[in-house]
């Protein structure tokens, strides 16, 4: 396994009076796509938000490239090269597609070559470049959300359930985009409920349950082992086909 770029050790986090994370231990290997699986309410989204500094860590450590980033303000964490695509995509719907992208390029004007590459990945963005992002369809919004995260080279992408509520054809397009990111060895931590999508893309995998990581390893191990899947995810192979 490659060296890990992000590591969580014993991370605990609360939302209001509820304990959501009870000591999460997670390693995200550099240059790989890691899938974070688990049932609803297992704490996957909170884990991503905690890495980003949006949910306060009450105990434990988050390390990025060896540096302790626990408790740092969100903008500073983002500037270290971590991009976050939340579950609701977080598109600025009153801004145009272009303006959304302009803000995403924090380090100055967008690199035209990289923008062309993004347009190749997601052609609708070029088409609706000067339209209000709020008028895009669900799939197009997800493309914009991911495009924002990759318009500048990042060390790590955190993506929360990109396939949620999308039609199969669009999910297929998204998978294609992630394949390209994988070829470029961009490190991705992907939260997913869609097991087929996960199996297709994931190199490493971690499974969460009840606020902790209960299994982690290679995706192939999980994919080949029906019993393990059944035990960890409550799914038989017949489902989610």
């Amino acid at each position: 396994m490659a060296e890990s770029i992000l590591s969580l050790s014993g991370v605990r986090a609360d939302i209001d009076q509820y304990h959501i994370l009870h000591g999460v231990d997670l390693e995200v290997p550099a240059g790989e796509l890691t899938v974070l699986l688990g049932r609803n309410g297992a704490g996957k989204s909170t884990t991503l938000r905690t890495i980003m500094g949006l949910t306060t860590v009450t105990d434990g450590k988050v390390r990025f490239r060896g540096e302790d980033i626990t408790g740092q303000p969100t903008p500073r964490i983002a500037r270290k090269g971590i991009a976050f695509v939340p579950e609701n995509m977080g598109i600025f719907s009153l801004l145009t597609v272009r303006e959304n992208m302009v803000l995403a390029a924090v380090n100055g004007p967008m690199d035209p070559a990289r923008l062309d590459w993004v347009f190749d990945l997601f052609p609708p963005l070029k088409k609706f470049w000067n339209r209000a992002a709020g008028n895009l369809s669900g799939g197009q919004k997800q493309m914009l959300a991911i495009a924002r995260a990759i318009i500048e080279p990042r060390e790590l992408l955190l993506v929360d359930e990109p396939t949620k509520g999308l039609a199969p054809a669009i999910i297929n397009d998204l998978a294609g985009a992630f394949e390209q990111l994988k070829q470029q060895q961009v490190t991705v931590l992907l939260v997913e409920q869609n097991f087929n999508f996960s199996r297709r893309l994931g190199q490493s995998a971690a499974v969460m349950n009840d606020g902790g990581v209960v299994w982690s390893g290679q995706m192939t191990e999980l994919a080949d082992n029906d019993d393990l899947q059944h035990e960890l995810l409550g799914l038989g192979l017949g489902e989610h086909q």
């Binding site: 980003m52 949006l54 303000p73 969100t74 903008p75 983002a78 500037r79 976050f84 939340p86 977080g90 600025f92 719907s93 009153l94 801004l95 303006e99 302009v102 803000l103 995403a104 924090v106 997601f122 052609p123 609708p124 088409k127 609706f128 339209r131 008028n135 895009l136 369809s137 799939g139 924002r148 039609a167 054809a169 669009i170 397009d173």
Partner: protein, 353 residues
């Protein structure tokens, strides 16, 4: 990817005069209301009076816009109710007046150029003093109460009382007369040859206020629409969290907007001082009623709505003040109530997501 490349629906243009009118009313409510108000007023008075009142109303609107624009941004972006905004208006008026009095020899020359040597420093000083106070006020008073409206109201009303008392300490408790610079007194006469409105005298200062108001509206619109900071402000109105996720320190943006808003309030106050030619520490409180009406009317957080709201308030004040002076204040609030019944979010709402 064309399979799911669904087009964003293009609305077909409405057919028929009535339908087009209805569409205009719904799509451009600010322009519809403005035209309606001006037309109704024109029917009720002589055209010469109407021209005079319209220019005066626009001038008042321009100054109220300066004062209100900062508050609408503070509320829209930061969700902060700053009821001390009126105190910044007063402070700007006093700061500007002090410079004008100090440079009174330049201000009393009949040449506009020499006058400007007094006016520009006066306006600049008002801008800087109010902006600096805004900086201190945000750090000291607003910062601890982000996210709690009740506390914001209490603490900013308290802050407002303190600032106004400090004005009494520095400038004394009496009202201060402010001499309007010589070149800005008097009026332009429209040439007699013009049909209907020939010979109408337009006060120079009001025309200048309109021009300055339009210039600042133009500048603010440009900043908000075209620059990166403007995009950030609009993004921040929609989702503060996502602005931070992109790597921007929203607190710094808040502070900048607050300081700019305070500075504009000070500028508006200084202009109002030269307009009224007399100032008191409590002038800001009196103006706050118009300011609050304007920002609610225009739609909280919208610069464009604020501008049109201010113009509408200025016009209705002058029109009704002429037709039935006792109803002028009622008309201002009545306008707000009417607009809110028609459009509860204000004329040009900024949708919070």
């Amino acid at each position: 990817m064309s399979a799911h490349d669904e087009m964003i629906g293009q609305t077909t243009p409405p057919q028929g005069v009535l339908a087009r009118f209805a569409a205009f009313r719904e799509n451009k409510p600010h322009i519809f209301l403005l035209l309606l108000m001006m037309a109704v007023a024109l029917l009720m008075m002589d055209p010469r009076t109407w021209v005079l009142l319209t220019i005066s109303g626009l001038a008042m609107g321009a100054m109220v816009f300066l004062m209100a624009s900062g508050m609408t941004l503070t509320f829209g972006l930061m969700n902060v109710l700053n009821l001390a905004h009126g105190a910044f208006i007063s402070l700007g008026a006093f700061a500007g007046a002090s410079v004008l009095l100090w440079l009174s020899s330049q201000a009393s020359e009949p040449s506009l150029l020499i006058n400007l040597a007094a006016i520009l420093p006066a306006l600049g000083f008002a801008l800087v003093v109010a902006g600096l106070l805004g900086l201190v006020f945000e750090r000291l008073v607003i910062k601890p109460v982000y996210g709690d409206h009740l506390k914001q109201i209490l603490v900013t009303v308290g802050g407002s009382i303190i600032i106004m008392e400090l004005i009494h300490v520095v400038w004394g408790p009496n009202e201060i007369p402010v001499p309007r610079p010589e070149a800005l007194t008097g009026a332009f006469l429209l040439p007699d040859a013009l049909p209907v409105i020939g010979g109408v005298a337009l006060e120079k200062y009001r025309l200048i206020a309109v021009v300055l108001g339009l210039a600042i509206y133009g500048l603010m619109t440009w900043i908000i629409e075209r620059t990166r900071v403007g995009i950030l402000i609009r993004a921040g109105v929609e989702s503060r969290e996502m602005v931070e996720v992109q790597g921007y320190r929203i607190r710094l943006l808040f502070l900048g907007v607050f300081v700019a808003g305070s500075a504009l309030a000070g500028l508006g106050g200084a202009m109002w001082a030269m307009y009224r030619e007399i100032i008191t520490a409590h002038m800001g409180d009196e103006l706050m009623i118009s300011v609050i009406v304007v920002i609610i009317l225009g739609g909280l957080g919208s610069i464009k709505g604020c501008f049109y709201g201010a113009v509408l308030v200025g016009l209705i004040n002058l029109y009704v003040g002429y037709l039935e002076p006792r109803l002028a204040a009622v008309a201002t609030v009545g306008l707000m109530v009417g607009v809110l019944m028609w459009r509860p979010q204000g004329l040009i709402p900024v949708i919070k997501v």
